[in-house]
Symmetry: C2
Subunit: 253 residues, 2 copies
């Protein structure tokens, strides 16, 4: 039953008890009771087309989502249309927490690929905090993690040179993708255009293109099939002066 805007709201397919993501080593173990609550908290799944808008700035969404599969990005616009991409979303990431907790959404979210989202009711959040303090703590943890990623991005956009920024961004995305099992045979295909990169780094499209070319010439990445493939992640990290992700486990709501 396809809905408007390229979505389909389906009866759940994956019960949380055999979630395909949860067994990954990045995610912490959940207690039976917690899992049962989450499973009940989940209202269904939402299929989103590539290019569709998942959430839009200024709206009051009644839902909260977790990415089951696919890629998306968060962004903000200036009144005259200039766009800043704030972060990328991939499996295991929560979408719309800000809106759920504070009311109005202050940013938009757009799908970079077909996606499958778990849907939660915003109104049940209070029950979660009331009956499962550990999960409440986890949500704060998730918000803090998002904040930490933003800190890093801001450092990058504010203080790194163009080529360092590009190297950081790609290494960062690739590292995150890897821990959620997005490396196909071995290398990772990031489904973004150079326009996305430009809008993330705060650079123009033309300059971004010339910067990416340098990375390609140095054989750190390749650009094909309308996306970016990482060849040498360690070299990217070195170039960016980036330590890499902390490798602790995290909660999955």
């Amino acid at each position: 039953m396809p809905g408007q805007n390229g979505r389909a709201f389906a009866r759940r397919q994956y019960p949380c008890e055999n979630c395909p993501l949860r067994p990954l080593p990045v995610f912490r173990e959940f207690e039976k009771k917690e899992l049962a609550f989450i499973s009940n908290f989940k209202k269904g799944e939402l299929a989103v087309d590539k290019g569709a808008t998942v959430l839009v700035e200024g709206s009051h969404s009644a839902h909260l989502y977790t990415v089951l599969s696919g890629w998306a990005f968060r962004y903000k616009l200036l009144p005259d249309g200039r766009r800043q991409i704030l972060n990328y979303l991939m499996p295991g990431d929560l979408i719309g927490l800000q809106g759920s907790v504070m009311g109005e959404m202050q940013h938009s979210v757009e799908a970079l690929s077909p996606m499958l989202l778990c849907v939660f009711e915003r109104d049940n959040l209070h029950e979660l905090y009331r009956n499962h303090p550990g999960l409440g703590y986890d949500i704060t943890w998730i918000a803090s993690r998002e904040e930490r990623m933003l800190d890093e991005n801001l450092l990058s956009v504010g203080r790194r040179s163009a080529i360092e920024r590009a190297a950081y961004l790609i290494a960062f995305i690739a590292s995150r993708a890897k821990v959620v099992g997005l490396n196909g045979k071995q290398s990772i295909q990031i489904p973004i255009t150079q326009q996305h990169v430009a809008d993330t780094l705060g650079l123009s499209l033309v300059h971004t293109n010339k910067t990416i070319r340098k990375l390609i010439d140095r054989k750190l990445i390749v650009w094909r099939d309308g996306g970016c493939e990482v060849v040498d992640n360690e070299a990217l990290k070195l170039l960016a002066g980036w330590e890499g992700l902390g490798e602790g486990r995290r909660p999955l709501i």
Copy 2:
């Protein structure tokens, strides 16, 4: 009893029940029980000198703070010393939540003025979530608010021109300061140097100086006594294309 690093750890002076901040209209009402818990959660006060480092990247702090009075800023450094200021902290803001919740601090905090901080024990956070779900929710709310501010800053640094960035930054700080009652007679003195502005906007000191001069020439701000004073906040907002803060109430931990 002055401690090392220009600090003094004092027995509490303000019991939370007559906190000087809480009556401000920006902060939401708390229930008696909540207030009692917070009061017990609070372990004392910390006086910090101007220029002192409150928290340092890489450390595992056992404490969490709320600013009672004074100004500070959060920042990160690149390996070669380039600095990016992430945000400013003023009365009512929480310091060190990321570190408390995720373990290691990923940024540092430095005082811009003498400060008074309320000190909380990180270990008691779990009890807070367990016994006061509403407060747990509030902490998530606070983390989300911090994230929203970072989104705005990232948009600014990534996509605004130098003069727009400067206008946005000053309008933003002044607006925040105003709602926590930091406007003395009428105008607000922001205790920052142009080096701080430069490191916030991602610009060089020289260019920042020339940009600030334009704002001064346009009579939007004045710069005196080693700080910035806002003359025409509305004009700053207009120049930056910024809507202003949402004016809802918020929790105070």
